[in-house]
Amino acid sequence: MKICQVERPLVSTNRIPGFEHKHLLVVRDGSSLQVAVDAVGCVPGDWVICVGSSAAREAAGSKEYPSDLTIVGIIDRWPPDGTTPQAGP
C-alpha cells in the first residue's frame, strides 16, 4: 500500500462507463501525481493509504471495477511528528 496526499478532485466527463459515478482524486505520491478511486470519502489535504493491483479493483466495489489504485483509508495523523521521538502509551 502507498501513502499519498490528496491534491484535488479529477473531473472527467468523457470516461468509460465502468467507473460509474465514483469520485476520482488526484493524489501525490512523493513527486509524482496519480489518479485514484475514492472508496472512503476524503477531501484535499488528507493523507491516505492506497492499494494497487487486483486489490484495487475489489476495494473499489467489485472484481470487475477497472481501478488500479483505490483509496482505502484516511490516516488520522501524518507525518507522525518526525522530529519528536515516538511516545509510548
Binding site: 472527467s12 493491483s53 487486483s54 479493483r57 471495477y65 488500479d68 489504485l69
Partner: protein, 97 residues
C-alpha cells in the same frame, strides 16, 4: 491511474485476434516516454487522459478478453489545473471542446 497526454493514433493492421479492432493511442508522459494504450473513449491528440494499467486495463475495456495492459479510462476536462493562470491565454478565450 496515471496522467498522460495523447500524441496520436497508432495503425496496426496485423495484430493478434485478442486485440480485436480496438483503437490504439500513442501517449506520452512528463519525461517524454511513449507508450501505447487501448482507447475505448475516443481521445484526440493533445487531450490529457488518465490510464488504467495492469489487469484492470482489461476490465476497463469492458471485456476482459481484450489482451491489453494499458487502457484510457477517460479524458480529463481541465489539465493542467494551473493552465487558467497562464499569461499567454486570451482574456476571453473559450476552450474548444
Amino acid at each position: 491511474m496515471e496522467i498522460r497526454r495523447v500524441v496520436g493514433s497508432l495503425v496496426c493492421t496485423q495484430r493478434i485476434a485478442e486485440l480485436a479492432h480496438v483503437d490504439l493511442r500513442v501517449l506520452q508522459d512528463a519525461a517524454g516516454r511513449r507508450v501505447v494504450a487501448t482507447d475505448p473513449v475516443g481521445a484526440r491528440p493533445d487531450d490529457w487522459v488518465f490510464v488504467v494499467s495492469g489487469s484492470a486495463a482489461r476490465y476497463a475495456m469492458g471485456n476482459p478478453a481484450i489482451l491489453t495492459d494499458l487502457t484510457v479510462g477517460g479524458v480529463i476536462d481541465h489539465w493542467p489545473p494551473e493552465a487558467a493562470s497562464e499569461p499567454s491565454s486570451p482574456p476571453h478565450g473559450t476552450p474548444r471542446r
